[in-house]
Symmetry: D2
Subunit: 302 residues, 4 copies
Amino acid sequence: MTVTQNAPAVRTHPGPTDDQAVLIVHGKDRTGIVAAISAVLGKHDANIVQLDQYSDNPHGGAFFQRTVFALDHLKARLPQVEADLKATLAEGFELEYTLRDMSAPKRVAIFASKDDHCLLDLLWRHRRGELPVNVAMVISNHADTADEVRFFGVPFFHVPSAGPDKSAAEEQHLRLLQGNVDFIVLARYMQILSAGFIERLGVPIINIHHSFLPAFIGAGPYAKAKQRGVKLIGATAHYVTEALDEGPIIEQDVIRVSHADTVADLQRRGADVERAVLSRAVRWHCEDRVVRHDNHTIVFAG
Amino acid sequence: MTVTQNAPAVRTHPGPTDDQAVLIVHGKDRTGIVAAISAVLGKHDANIVQLDQYSDNPHGGAFFQRTVFALDHLKARLPQVEADLKATLAEGFELEYTLRDMSAPKRVAIFASKDDHCLLDLLWRHRRGELPVNVAMVISNHADTADEVRFFGVPFFHVPSAGPDKSAAEEQHLRLLQGNVDFIVLARYMQILSAGFIERLGVPIINIHHSFLPAFIGAGPYAKAKQRGVKLIGATAHYVTEALDEGPIIEQDVIRVSHADTVADLQRRGADVERAVLSRAVRWHCEDRVVRHDNHTIVFAG
Amino acid sequence: MTVTQNAPAVRTHPGPTDDQAVLIVHGKDRTGIVAAISAVLGKHDANIVQLDQYSDNPHGGAFFQRTVFALDHLKARLPQVEADLKATLAEGFELEYTLRDMSAPKRVAIFASKDDHCLLDLLWRHRRGELPVNVAMVISNHADTADEVRFFGVPFFHVPSAGPDKSAAEEQHLRLLQGNVDFIVLARYMQILSAGFIERLGVPIINIHHSFLPAFIGAGPYAKAKQRGVKLIGATAHYVTEALDEGPIIEQDVIRVSHADTVADLQRRGADVERAVLSRAVRWHCEDRVVRHDNHTIVFAG
Amino acid sequence: MTVTQNAPAVRTHPGPTDDQAVLIVHGKDRTGIVAAISAVLGKHDANIVQLDQYSDNPHGGAFFQRTVFALDHLKARLPQVEADLKATLAEGFELEYTLRDMSAPKRVAIFASKDDHCLLDLLWRHRRGELPVNVAMVISNHADTADEVRFFGVPFFHVPSAGPDKSAAEEQHLRLLQGNVDFIVLARYMQILSAGFIERLGVPIINIHHSFLPAFIGAGPYAKAKQRGVKLIGATAHYVTEALDEGPIIEQDVIRVSHADTVADLQRRGADVERAVLSRAVRWHCEDRVVRHDNHTIVFAG
């Protein structure tokens, strides 16, 4: 057996994030963007800790930059950095940016139904310090996981779904969510969100779903995968858009299966991939590593 | 998002195991073993559901066979099947066998310390029906996980370790375990078991530990792995023998890491591999898929 | 650097296959099949080296068994073994079987076009002794790879494709192939085979094609995958049926890609997966490890 | 089968690298480095195509930056860019840099012995345009691969090894290599290079060797791995230093094996991992993606 005495407490965040900020810049590529940004940061004595930059086409394509920088007394000085950045990027660049103090974690609501594998994996990882996020609440259309969620110290709200008309439930959701969360995770939430709800909510929504090679459309995908004899079972985490299951992909993975796996085995193995893929996607979103562009993502996975 | 209405409850055991038994036969290879065994099963109208056979050398090597068979009214008829098998295998074969009614799950005690990732993963998989096992108890030298374990409906016993002399703690362990469990899982249990304890206990013990390419001996392996710049982090599940960390390997896996991962990141990713590898090893042990031979294993992973 | 002096020549076949035969039995499950088969083998003093058995449903499902056995003076005695097997399996079982002397490798024709990665990988593995197969010929609609193929000591036939009417080319193919090959591998062969050709040819055909999560239909799949930002690129090897790309899957795999990969990078990485997946599928087919059933396969991958 | 008409020729380099240069900067971290570098590039109207930056400790650690930039008429203007960079980095920074015109591939000599899997994989990939490198020569202590190497249009030199005194062979190596190559790849070269040779040669040397969990020291590692029943077989590519097999790791990977694999199977599977790992390491080295620091590497794998 492994014996490690006096092992230090695991702190899995990538180092102290106090006095660190993350800046995402995204837009039309042009000569001089990196220099302009780093000049602003240099002027404020900010030390660049990590910088990832990518252009999808050096001749007039799109520009993406993620910069983590350290700055003493960040909270006091960040507004001035931001004002300078804004002024600089306004000078002839066609760029958007987001700037965030990394000591202030994003706030998330997790939506779940009966299946608990993705939900619990996120709550465990959060409790272990693996996810730099503030879990504001769990919302479920089933009451089953209430005790378990509250055991983690997280508020649980039961909002039953009542037939095809989801407007009443969605009103309840909006009352709970608006102003309280920065993004939503659908952790095997088995209800469709209306386009109107997505729009009114106005924050990013991450979903996880199973994936197969080839694809199996409709109900009972695992039974179809069994019938077709696929050798891999996968999962895809993506941002939710109005086009069902068609939003920008954040992360994907697969595992190997065989003819000896029953439909239930495929579901069990699929569940393992789902929770692994979803937790990576959530982590990367929390750390501002994912930039959406057209219908795909740039992931500075680090 | 994915919508599957009226999805059936997941039952992840490989089909109904009522009226099914698993037979492991292991020993010196000889012509006619498969025929002799299947003749006995055929005589009792047992239907062979899955049969895996392996010889490590067709010319006088070792023979391994795992057979799952279905037999109506199994409980009533198994003793007679066993008697016939015993008589048959005694006729000139040098073979050992185990025969087990699959409807009676093995009983396990899980040993843990402060780190909870492997422990919780096992408890959660058990609750989902993924592990055909009876979790008799959790024993820990720390009290931290007591509430959580009991939340799963599993007895928790706190047996503190008191300095280098472990004999008092081991006596307590033996009182709790003897007669009550069929195997032990060390789920990141950070204490060494004495050779005497292992012998008196007399049941298989499964351990999980981290693994690296190359190996890093001694304290702080993750810090050493970081310093050496390894690109993979792994874990190994094995049976415990008197030779520390040298017992027969059941399962191994790795994940990819990079220079950007901190020591804490490596520990976090290592924890993911550990729980995945341990849960597979435990599952295979529960299903009698692992046969020990010399210092290695034959795994009919299915 | 690694230094191994006097390393023995690598012989990658799974041990000496002289005097070994492989038996595949496949059909309706019934009690007593394993016993009946092993009794026949036992009667002839055949030693079972490896036996894999699988039932897709213990209650009236399909039965699959692959058995490798050793028998001195196999060539002389195999006809009598076969006669006994045939008589036994005719007694009330609804089973098909194939029985093959493993010292006589199957004969293959490889079809290729301009892309050489799959073709060369197969030829090279064959030369190393990794593929127990007799490469009878390479047929290509382009002359580009002629020298290289012949360098491997393999006959090369150039059969150009001439527009939409493939009947003349297919007649040439049939003249070259009929009686000379046991199966065909399409190693990135960029022409459609007509249903009539497949039927007249009458031997199994293995194809490799790229696979994506989600699927991208039509021309330019890699460009579409890039646009969609997929994080995995895969390949699928399958038997060819009249339904284009819809035949039973033998093997699949994927590799991870990122936003930084260009379309050309995706093609390059896809090529790596393709050759790996195809070579595994071909190897398993050569070793009679793949059983077709309905539209899927049972792979006793060993 | 897959049919793609008029598929464009694969060009796997990451886009046109004419008029592109790659700059590596490495040394003591300090505020303002990124700004200083990008200001120089901006002054010359160079457009940054890709920038990866990493600090191993924001408080006084080491700084690493890889920058790819595009500049019209690069060949004419690069000397002036370099002069400006040199002057800038001399102002109070403790940094080293390398600057390279990406249209001028590095020159490599590949060393091989009898085993051809790594050698051929590199030659194939080079011919396909996957490796931006100039293969100047192959040197082998065996003549076996001469024809095959020359078939690729690459000069082949046979330098036999004659017993324990390697000085004569090493003199021959140096005469062939000095001035002609920028790095060396040991593609399963089964001779030890002396420390004196490594020093006199003065260019990076990349080696590939097998890796196991746990490690097996000495001769016959695959036989030992089989005996120990490992479930994974791996390979490690690293830079050669005077400490045998202990140099900075560039890349590692593993594949899964089972008890059913013979020693020969393990060697075959190991060979697949070796060639995959080595080709990635060589590619990354050719693209200046690997920075050595202490005894490890920073790999901007892209």
